[in-house]
């Protein structure tokens, strides 16, 4: 049991006083970020990332920095549930499904039960995902040590094709948005030849577009503009959680163990394959409705309808870190921002991380266990406090959020040009959201663009420009094949539907 030994060492790292303090700071900040409109996991982490630059230079500092940032992520995952249950406003896209049953429960005066159920099942989902990470990631990393450039490019290809095949947005819009991200990533100096690409003589573009600025603009400013459209008033239910309510709900929860388990499985799968937390939450809500004996009552305020999406969302959000750590391929936008952080701190995400940076990896994994326990305690005890934040009028909180976003984009490179780009990305985010162009593949492509290109070019160099290198052995061949299958999945499912429709149409004829 190598993993258990490494994990114990990880706990030794994570249990230092400084790291525990950072964990609580991260969780509290994260919940606030998750509750506020316009700030979410991805751009919250993006804004705070520059503040960790100096922290990461101290010995052991990278571990503290990742603990802080990942705890912000867990906090944001918890925070999303508060707004969707109390205010019927999903603070995060993955908590949309939580509003279906959570808000009716709050209206019936059972907000405390709904919140307790949401937090507890989030915790369960995350816990299962962390256990999966603990035991699966060393295996994946060991396996991936054998990867060469063609294999890595095939993994990238698989990631991006999965977006096309599995997102609910139109496939060509997904493709366009993704390619836009790659194009933005290509701007600046070509890392191999040093040639200037797509800069058109502008000095501001020499260093290219930073994904942090893109994330802050797309998710932050874009979200504020969208919220504005829907009007400025928030009306919310009152929440008070006392020990009685918590214990009563906990007594009820074991009844839904099967739903929890199923949702956690859906979540882990969707998080590792880059489907993400949002589709996972919808999918497991749908699955729970179909299999539950009370399925027809879903939507009227069933605790089970809160358990299913929250478990899945948290499981997916957590397990999205598995491919990020082991392969360097993040499973969600927030994981992509964390990956960007690793690169900035000078760590190479990927299989070698498990060999060269044992303290870092296992410290992080141990902090996931502790961070989620801390998170559960913080949210259960401080809900009224966080709900009060949402009662601050929008006309006060919105400009402050925009100021925070501006500061966040400025601190990335200390350049005012980035703040302008944030505004441009904000407008783009607003328009894209309204036209259902997905933003996640765009962000992932900006982060991974250079790495994907580098592995593609190395693979091409090895094979002297022969594309068949991506089918040269069983491993890379099956990865590429799977990627192509996912890429053409929308087309295939459309064809199958047509064939079925015409078959049943033919049967109806005499």
């Amino acid at each position: 049991m190598d993993e258990v030994q490494s994990l114990v060492q990880g706990f030794v790292v994570a249990l230092s006083f400084k790291n525990l303090a950072l964990m609580f700071v991260g969780i509290v900040l994260g919940v606030i970020i998750g509750v506020l409109p316009g700030l979410g996991g991805a751009n919250g982490v993006a804004i705070l990332l520059p503040l960790t630059f100096s922290m990461a230079q101290a010995p052991g500092g990278t571990t503290s920095a990742i603990i802080l940032l990942s705890c912000i992520y867990w906090g944001a995952l918890f925070g999303g549930a508060i707004t969707s249950i109390l205010f019927n406003i999903p603070g995060e896209p993955w908590s949309v499904a939580t509003t279906f049953d959570g808000y009716p429960l709050a209206q019936q005066g059972r907000a405390g039960n709904a919140l307790t159920a949401a937090f507890t099942s989030s915790f369960v989902g995350a816990l299962i995902a962390v256990i999966v990470i603990t035991f699966l990631s060393p295996v994946v990393a060991r396996f991936a040590l054998e990867f060469g450039p063609p294999e890595f490019f095939a993994v990238y290809l698989l990631t991006f094709c999965a977006f096309v095949g599995m997102s609910k947005e139109p496939p060509f819009k997904t493709l366009a948005s993704m390619m836009l991200g790659f194009a933005l990533a290509a701007v600046g100096t070509d890392p191999v030849t040093g040639a200037l690409r797509l800069t058109f003589g502008s000095t501001a573009l020499l260093s290219g577009f930073d994904f942090l600025v893109a994330v802050i603009g797309l998710f932050g400013i874009g979200e504020i503009l969208l919220t504005l459209e829907e009007g400025l008033a928030f009306k919310g239910a009152k929440a008070r959680i006392n020990l009685r309510v918590v214990l009563d709900t906990w007594k009820e929860l074991p009844r839904y163990w099967l739903t929890s388990l199923r949702s956690a499985a859906v979540g882990c799968f969707m998080g590792i394959v880059p489907g993400g937390a949002t589709p996972a939450s919808f999918m497991s809500y749908g699955v729970a409705r179909r299999f539950s004996p009370n399925g027809d009552k879903f939507g009227t305020g069933q605790v089970e309808g809160v358990v299913a999406p929250e478990t899945a969302a948290h499981a997916a959000g957590t397990s999205a870190l598995l491919p990020m750590l082991t392969l360097g391929v993040p499973g969600s936008p927030t994981a992509a921002v964390l990956l960007g952080g690793l690169l900035i701190w000078g760590l190479q995400p990927g299989p070698l991380l498990f060999v060269e940076q044992k303290d870092f990896v296992w410290g992080l994994i141990a902090s996931m266990y502790l961070g989620n326990i801390a998170g559960l305690i913080v949210v259960l005890t401080c809900v009224p406090l966080f709900a009060a934040i949402l009662r601050i009028p929008f006309s006060v909180i919105a400009p402050i959020i925009i100021v925070i976003c501006a500061i966040g984009s400025y601190t990335v490179h200390n350049s005012l040009f980035d703040v302008w780009m944030m505004v441009v990305f904000g407008i783009a985010g607003y328009v894209f959201k309204k036209l259902s162009y997905p933003l996640a593949p765009l962000v992932l492509a900006i982060v991974l663009g250079d790495r994907a290109e580098a592995s593609f070019r190395q693979a091409m160099l090895v094979s002297q420009g022969d594309m068949s290198v991506f089918f040269s052995n069983a491993l890379v061949g099956s990865l590429t094949g799977l990627a192509l299958l996912l890429l053409f999945w929308p087309l295939l499912s459309w064809l199958i539907l047509r064939v079925r429709a015409s078959a049943s149409g033919a049967r109806k004829l005499p």
Binding site: E229, L416, V419
Partner: protein
């Protein structure tokens, strides 16, 4: 449908779809053009600098061409509203001051600009009394100053007011 002048559509879904698809197509064309200029073929020492972006540009153009065609063929979107006049006005009342705010940062520094911006927002959209506006906007900038300059030691752009106060 009534709802007054504010509910009138400013843009229709179809025109918005087409405009965005055309814009992305244009960006793709720029990528292709610049990659071809750099050389998108196989050089003496391997792929040239424009090799990878060239294909990215191609897929970008192709996919946005499909999106443009789909938008053109779609009958359902013709009457759907992309954004109503009232909504657009609300969005612009935030967007334009935000752009001015970013312009102001370069001139007065971030703290003064932020105070002015928060004050404008609260007064214009929230209609708060002046003393509340002043308290929140100045308090906010002071708080950020303490957090960034003193606690985290991250220098942010400063202007004449900070110089006058000797805080540079």
């Amino acid at each position: 449908m009534d709802g007054g002048r504010g509910a009138r559509p400013a843009f229709r879904q179809k025109s918005a779809e087409m405009a965005v698809a055309a814009f992305i197509f244009l960006l793709g064309a720029i990528v292709i053009y610049d990659s071809a200029r750099l050389g998108a073929r196989w050089g003496d020492d391997g792929p040239q600098a424009g090799y990878f972006p060239f294909y990215i540009g191609l897929i970008l153009c192709a996919s946005s061409a499909v999106n443009l065609a789909l938008a053109l063929l779609n009958r359902r979107d013709r009457d759907r509203t992309f954004v109503e006049v009232g909504q657009l006005k609300l969005v612009l009342t935030v967007l334009i001051p935000s752009a001015i705010y970013v312009g102001l940062i370069g001139w007065t520094g971030i703290y003064v600009a932020s105070a002015v911006y928060v004050a404008f927002f609260m007064r214009r959209l929230g209609k708060y009394p002046w003393w509340k506006v002043a308290a929140v906007s100045i308090g906010n900038s002071v708080a950020f100053f303490l957090i960034f300059e003193i606690w985290f030691k991250v220098p942010l752009p400063k202007g004449p007011v900070e110089a006058l106060l000797g805080l540079d």
